[in-house]
């Protein structure tokens, strides 16, 4: 039996297959002990008949992310090359904000007195310049031990070129019973600050993620042969054992599930190229999928670099709870300050400062009886009262509300531009997949602003992450920095083959441990290339004419390329993909018909018309009453349990055979 469980801030969503059918279960999350909610979900699901066969449980978790954000990780000690103990504190020597005398930066996760230097040195080619003697290794191991760490991070200069010294010391520390995060094992790539920060974060997360996984292990212990996997930030799943050892790979576990869910439902609906748009209460995640998932090694989490591959997800601090205000010189600002859950938007009953959610309510875009199917009433009169007081020079509450949405939309638009146009992708070739509580409220307006021709609002927009986790493949990334110039493809054939063989031996072992036979594994090989002298690299597939594809990619992304310039290799990457069985979702029959007969009413809602708000009669629908083939024209609003979709005038919606809503501008 396959079960996917995604732990979110409010709900723990479960998607599972019973008798070949998809089912969904929603439970409240337990912030202090997320594993308990998972255990309860398992009890509820497994307690009922029909769940047979070997249990395969996959979890999306925020344990790692929260431990980093709230700095509730373990006590870590760090060993570096002697003389470089402060690299973790100096960082890249820049400050996060320029024009602020009171700027701060996150304290390093390891304080000065738990950072130790090992007298050793390797050069950039991997030659040993100074080998640490037995005595030195013992001295450092003892000092580390007496600092009483819960986990140890080990990161020596140029260990990607020669890991011998890291190995020696790791062996000694492990023999003393310490959990050791070793840089060449987790991230054998150059740039010492980013690597050190990543390894330290890994060690920092080991205790919290470890105990979470232990507890889940206990809840499935009764099921023989049960397999527990965890969603990683790279868009693939991996065994709980690996996630426990390398928890830094899970820090974007939740959002990655959402992206994967969007990808799978869009693929079923026939759309390969999508932009995902997940708008929640305090922040919004966007990402772009051009057929394949795109990862980056340049992410930051909680102000610190995390350089293991993660899905390229761009987050902006704007959501339904973002607060609107006028600044000293009279511009309307929205966010990044958020009303959060407490006090929340005005209409929730306690907040007094206008938010994006209040604006939607004023404009008649939220269900009159409130959110969550009426279980959460909204106070419109209250919202109107406080917004009237806060509207400044703006003519009416409606105009103010519309202005809040216009401003917050520019933030969203900017976020989508970053992941599309700035990377050389034209949004006109993409479908916007909108989810999260507020995604469907903004999607059409955003699509119109960016020329995106279509919006897809999936079935269960609230449970999409869990669905994505259920559909995820096992993915493991291996890489190594190998720097050399490439005079021609044939000249590097030998070295490339050796480099890949080196990292892939580990890959095969890891896939075997995940239970995959060789013939069920696919490998994607990438080369990080750049022109000689450049400081950043582009990843291109290693197969075929990789030089030509490098020049092409460079041209597309940066507007110029020159095949006569010399090219150098920086990193080799292998991605191992073990396919899991796809989702057994069967399409329903789609019969074209007008949805008017199932509308649940009409009311006045406000839409922009030539830059000004205008009240229009709007048809209201309950998504539960729509069936495949239903069509409806804007202006309309479709309500469902945990989300709302707005169809502006000039747009139409249809429900496809997988029960997704497809929204497009009316042709002609």
């Amino acid at each position: 039996m396959r079960i996917a469980i995604d732990t979110g801030g409010t709900f723990t969503d479960c998607v599972f297959l019973r008798n070949g059918r998809l089912e969904i279960l929603k439970l409240p999350s337990m912030r202090e002990n997320p594993a308990r909610a998972v255990a309860q979900a398992l009890e509820a699901i497994l307690g009922r008949p029909g769940g047979s066969g070997r249990l395969e449980l996959t979890c999306g978790t925020t344990v790692g992310t929260n431990a980093l954000l709230e700095r509730r990780g373990g006590r870590v000690s760090l060993v570096t090359t002697s003389g470089f103990e402060d690299v973790i504190e100096i960082g890249r020597q820049d400050r996060p904000r320029l024009y602020d005398f009171f700027v701060t930066r996150p304290e390093p996760l390891v304080p000065r007195d738990r950072r130790f230097g090992l007298a050793e040195r390797v050069d950039s080619a991997g030659n040993v310049l100074e080998a640490p003697g037995e005595e030195e290794l013992d001295r450092v191991a003892s000092e580390v031990a007496s600092s009483r760490p819960e986990a140890v991070a080990l990161c020596l200069l140029f260990s990607f070129a020669n890991p011998a010294h890291e190995r020696e010391l790791a062996r000694r520390l492990r023999a003393r019973g310490f959990a050791v995060s070793v840089s060449h094992e987790i991230l054998a790539e150059f740039r010492e600050y980013e690597r050190t920060a990543t390894i330290v974060a890994n060690a920092y997360l080991t205790p919290a993620v470890g105990s979470y996984l232990d507890e889940i292990g206990k809840s499935v212990a009764r099921r023989r042969g049960a397999r527990v996997r965890v969603m990683q930030s790279n868009g693939g799943i991996a065994s709980a054992e690996l996630a426990g050892r390398e928890p830094v790979r899970t820090v974007l576990s939740g959002p990655a599930g959402g992206v994967l869910g969007a990808k799978s439902v869009a693929a079923l609906a026939g759309f390969e190229r999508i932009i995902t748009f997940d708008m929640g209460g305090t922040s919004t995640d966007v990402s772009l999928i051009d057929g394949d998932l795109r990862t980056t090694a340049e992410s930051h989490v909680a102000g610190m670099p995390v350089a293991v591959p993660m899905l390229e997800i761009h987050t902006v601090g704007a959501g339904g709870g973002s607060i609107a205000r006028f600044d000293d010189a009279g511009a309307l600002r929205v966010g990044p300050e958020s009303a959060g859950a407490d006090p929340g938007p005005i209409c929730y009953g306690r907040g007094e400062r206008p938010t994006v959610t209040d604006a939607h309510l004023i404009l008649g875009r939220l269900a009159p009886e409130g959110l969550l199917g009426g279980g959460f009433p909204l106070d419109e009169a209250r919202a109107r009262h406080y917004m009237d007081r806060a509207r400044g020079p703006v003519g009416s509450v409606e105009e103010f509300a519309w202005g809040i949405l216009a401003v917050v939309n520019t933030t969203m638009e900017k976020a989508i531009r970053v992941i599309s146009i700035e990377r050389g992708h034209d949004p006109r070739d993409y479908t916007l997949v909108a989810f999260g509580g507020a995604g469907g409220l903004h999607a059409c307006q955003l699509a119109a602003a960016l020329g995106i021709p279509r919006v897809l609002v999936p079935k269960f927009p609230g449970g999409l992450s869990a669905l994505g986790i259920l559909a995820a493949d096992v993915v493991k990334d291996f890489s190594r920095t190998v720097r050399m110039e490439i005079p021609s493809r044939s000249a590097v054939r030998g070295p490339l083959a050796r480099a890949f063989a080196g990292i892939e031996a580990r890959g095969w072992r890891a896939m075997k441990a995940e239970g995959f036979a060789r013939n069920r594994v696919r490998i994607e090989r990438l080369l990080d290339l750049r022109y000689v002298g450049q400081g950043y690299e582009l990843s291109v597939p290693a197969a075929g004419d990789f030089l030509a594809s490098f020049h092409r990619t460079h041209e597309r992304r940066y507007g110029y390329a020159d095949p006569s310039w010399r090219v150098e290799l920086v990193n080799v990457r292998s991605r191992f993909i073990g396919r899991t069985p796809g989702l057994p979702v069967r399409p329903r029959r789609e019969v074209r018909r007008d949805a008017a007969s199932v509308s649940i009413g009409r009311r006045a809602s406000v839409f922009p018309s030539r830059g000004r708000p205008r009240s229009l009669t709007t048809t209201l629908y309950d998504r539960a009453r729509l069936v495949p083939g239903h069509r409806l024209a804007g202006p309309a609003v479709i309500f469902e349990y945990s989300a709302t979709t707005v169809i502006p005038p000039g747009w139409e919606a249809r429900m496809d055979r997988y029960e997704n809503l497809i929204l497009e501008p009316v042709r002609g």
Partner: protein
């Protein structure tokens, strides 16, 4: 007509995103570590009059000075569609020679340009007597190639003659060519974006709102100025020396606040000097811009409007408004910092709870150059700046090992540096205890030790080697910096500003200053 607060916010975001997109294009496609790894560049959008409408959050020292590049390009050249101007002349729109600025008109229809986009990037070598073009000099002619505003592109085609003239005068021509290509790519990115914005909102609306945006920033600044007690606030600080024996060199400022206006008067500052630490007016203007911008406690676009209520008086022929042929390489990086220190000392009297103690006050510029025996004698030229201690703030310790005020460039990772340049970094750590003591402690400086693996020409431009960064409200000064050369078992102290050649095996050790402390330390 009053602007619509909503549209205003939208246009603010739009213009800013153009500058950010240009920066992303430049960073990702540039060649030299200096631009890519260190991010020593800036991008900005200008209206037809050459006023800044938006600037990416890049290098503060470029902030106020970019408009002068655009003004010079407009004045000297007739820029048509497809033309791109290039310049670096500090006496004609530039700051110091390594900063190459490109200016591209964005026409959008017939007639004169509706916008200009520009970017500036610090090139690792622009010729002159020393590799890295940042060493000691007596005249600008020794500092590298000097480029008045010229067209590097005309009608969309590169002007080969100009390009080859430039790359023939520098040590690492291919890298220069690659970086210039990236700068052009960034300009075009900006041009395309502006075109889209005008297509969407219409010329009239865009024009109205660019003007509103300037007024808006002006109101922001006026509102910040009203919070400063009226009066004349004086400050003074000194540069150690000019590297040629003259010093200390005082920078004096009087800030006169009246209602919502400020006059910043540098009369009394030392005359321009023989060494290369003269600042041209653009730099002084930038430093003033930076300090007053920091007094606005809100996100605000860095437009020219911010400076409308502020008048800068910098007498010609002084350290803060040098005339040709004074050498200026260090004006941008060292003198700019001291100008900030003088301004803050003045403002600390007016706003004691809003102004930090002095930060390290130097960028510790280090240039290395020579022939790399490991690469068949290939020429290398490398430039870096080293962070130091931040001054303590009322209520907060200063940060350690961080760039402050007029720069925010990143370090070059050791694992990149040693791969590219024949050196070995032996130590890169915080300089414990170098921050000034006080109720709030100044941040610590850095110790950086670099072993040379080849015979190398070294250039150092640094300051705060004589007097430590000042503490405030009873806090102690930060420790002074030190430059040392370790050779054959001996440690030799090096001057704050020097050029020398050292053999393989020598170790250069730079200790950067700590930040000043704030407030008296409570006893017990």
């Amino acid at each position: 007509m009053k602007p619509d607060p909503i549209r205003l916010e939208i246009f603010k975001n739009l213009f800013h995103s153009v500058a950010e997109e240009m920066g992303a294009a430049l960073r990702r496609s540039a060649f030299s570590p200096n631009i890519k790894e260190r991010r020593d560049y800036s991008c900005a959008v200008f209206n037809s009059a050459g006023d800044v409408l938006a600037m990416g959050d890049h290098m503060p020292v470029h902030l106020g000075s970019m408009p002068m590049s655009v003004a010079a390009a407009i004045r000297e050249l007739d820029l048509g569609p497809g033309d791109v101007a290039l310049l670096n002349d500090p006496y004609c729109g530039g700051t110091h020679l390594p900063d190459f600025t490109m200016v591209m008109p964005v026409h959008l229809g017939k007639g004169s340009p509706m916008f200009y986009v520009a970017n500036r990037a610090h090139h690792a070598d622009v010729g002159g007597s020393q590799p890295g073009s940042m060493g000691l000099a007596r005249q600008i002619y020794q500092e590298g190639i000097r480029i008045p505003p010229v067209k590097i592109f005309t009608g969309g085609r590169i002007v080969r003659d100009v390009l080859s003239l430039i790359v023939s005068n520098v040590r690492t021509p291919r890298e220069r060519e690659g970086d210039l290509a990236a700068q052009v790519a960034a300009c075009r990115t900006g041009g395309r974006r502006l075109e889209e914005i005008v297509a969407k909102y219409g010329r009239g609306e865009v024009n109205r709102y660019q003007a509103h945006l300037l007024d808006y920033s002006e109101r922001m600044m006026r509102s910040a100025l009203r919070n400063i007690p009226p009066g004349t606030w004086r400050g003074e600080d000194v540069l150690d020396d000019d590297g040629l024996g003259a010093g200390p060199l005082p920078i004096r400022v009087a800030i006169r606040i009246r209602d919502d206006r400020a006059e910043v008067d540098f009369r009394g500052t030392a005359p321009q000097c023989e060494g290369s630490i003269n600042a041209v007016y653009a730099i002084t203007y930038s430093a003033v811009f930076y300090v007053f911008r920091c007094l606005i406690h809100d996100q605000v676009p860095a437009t020219s409007g911010l400076m409308r209520p502020i008048r800068v008086l910098a007498p010609e022929g002084t350290l803060v408004n040098a005339l040709p042929p004074a050498a200026v390489a260090g004006g941008n990086v060292e003198t700019s910092q001291r100008i900030v220190d003088s301004l803050l000392r003045a403002l600390a009297q007016a706003l004691p709870d809003q102004v930090p103690a002095a930060s390290q006050g130097s960028m510790n510029n280090l240039t290395l150059g020579g022939a790399d025996p490991g690469r068949r004698g290939a020429i290398f030229a490398y430039y870096e700046t080293i962070a130091g201690g931040m001054g303590a703030r009322p209520g907060l310790d200063g940060l350690s090992g961080i760039h402050t005020h007029m720069t925010n460039s990143l370090n070059t990772p050791v694992e990149v540096l040693e791969h590219d340049v024949p050196v070995r970094v032996r130590r890169y750590s915080l300089r414990r205890g170098s921050g000034g003591d006080g109720r709030w402690r100044g941040g610590d400086g850095i110790v950086r030790e670099i072993e040379l693996l080849a015979r190398t020409q070294i250039g150092i431009l640094s300051d705060r080697r004589e007097r430590g960064p000042y503490g405030l409200a009873g806090g102690q000064d930060g420790a002074v910096g030190r430059n040392e050369l370790l050779l054959n078992g001996e440690t030799r102290s090096l001057p704050a500003k020097c050029s020398l050649e050292a053999p393989a095996g020598a170790v250069l050790r730079i200790l950067t200053p700590g930040g000043g402390g704030w407030g008296k330390k409570e006893s017990g």
